[in-house]
């Protein structure tokens, strides 16, 4: 649920949609979430590559809030995904410096370079965490706090604890063995994912979902344990 492509300045250039889809297939993944920093421009190329490969792509973004907390925003369709992207881009200031932060490559399904994002994708938006979670839910998306067990950009590191009334859908662990050491996890479900920035890391960690169909609506049912659905890390 958390793979970076070559659009993220910190990811390797080898992270093209074609390479990632074939690596995911090799590792036996059935569903992959593409979450670049503050942008979703490579999601369509992933969907085209995955079509017919038996892999479902969940389009998303890893949004940096005003508090510098990373939140995964996962959506079931382009309209919702790109309407949030529009707000995120309007709330993100600064211009990328490729020499300092890395290239932000937008590609098509055949690995043709369509362009370079000039936004400072590594930066923080000025959207508060509460507002972001609302914006995601208004668009029927899932809001998952990234790597809650990491100090930098993790919700507990940045904010000391998980705000009691923040309606998150799940928490992501960078290290699944740490699930019992998260204070005030509020009984929220956990996922774990690779947060891959290079090809060999794709599938390094993954989450099992017991679901009818591979989509965000079913993921939501897995998170609430409805009708035999469940999630396990």
């Amino acid at each position: 649920m958390h793979i970076h492509s070559c659009l993220s300045p910190c990811a390797e250039l080898e992270m093209s949609p074609r390479n990632i889809v074939s690596e995911a297939k090799r590792k036996g993944l059935q569903m992959i979430g593409i979450c670049d920093h503050n942008s979703a421009e490579n999601v369509p190329a992933f969907e085209k590559n995955a079509a017919g490969e038996g892999i479902t792509v969940i389009g998303g973004m890893e949004v940096t809030t005003r508090e510098e907390v990373h939140i995964l925003a996962l959506f079931g369709n382009h309209e919702n995904l790109f309407s949030l992207q529009k707000i995120v881009h309007e709330s993100l200031h600064g211009t990328n410096d490729e020499k300092l932060y890395g290239e932000q490559v937008i590609v098509d399904e055949e690995e043709n370079v369509l362009g370079f994002s000039d936004k400072l994708l590594i930066g923080a938006t000025d959207i508060t965490i509460e507002r972001l979670v609302d914006l995601i839910h208004e668009r029927d998306g899932l809001a998952i706090a990234s790597h809650v067990d990491r100090e930098g950009f993790g919700i507990i590191g940045q904010l000391g604890f998980i705000p009691e009334d923040l309606p998150l859908d799940a928490l992501e662990l960078a290290d699944p063995t740490k699930r019992d050491s998260i204070p005030q996890a509020r009984c929220l479900p956990f996922i774990t994912s690779s947060d891959a920035h290079k090809l060999e890391d794709v599938g390094k960690r993954s989450t099992k979902f017991w679901m009818e169909t591979a989509d965000t609506a079913e993921m939501r049912r897995c998170f609430s344990g409805m009708e035999g659905r469940r999630v396990r890390i």
Partner: protein, 119 residues
């Protein structure tokens, strides 16, 4: 040479966003600066003034837990409405400075707000 938050607010020309009524009675025993709230929970001490750029409502809970005397928000950031509401309830003064953390801390030190007894 202990100072009250009121004296500090005057000297640094801080804008008071919450609990102005408490400023004269809050004695500042030192200071801490941090934006990672987990770090502030680990290291801030009772009676210190806390300098941060965070404006989320969690700063009030952290300030209350650590019993700091007040919060100075830097870079002219505006605390969220929920933060101010909690600050009213929890009796945590919040002050805002247009300056950066570096400049606020430097001015505090000049005023004699150090973490060294008797300095």
């Amino acid at each position: 040479m202990t100072k009250t938050l009121k004296e500090i607010a005057g000297a640094l020309q801080l804008t008071v966003s919450a609990r102005e009524d408490l400023l004269p009675s809050r004695t500042v025993t030192g200071g801490y600066v941090g934006d990672l709230l987990s770090d502030v929970l680990a290291h801030a001490r009772k009676g210190q003034v806390w300098v941060t750029l965070q404006t989320h409502a969690n700063i009030v809970a952290v300030a209350s837990t650590k019993e700091v005397c007040g919060i100075i928000v830097v870079n002219g950031r505006t605390p969220e409405a929920a933060t101010l509401q909690k600050a009213e309830q929890e009796q945590i003064p919040i002050l805002v400075s247009p300056l950066s953390s570096y400049e606020v801390v430097a001015r505090l030190w000049e005023l004699g707000v150090t973490n060294r007894e008797g300095v």
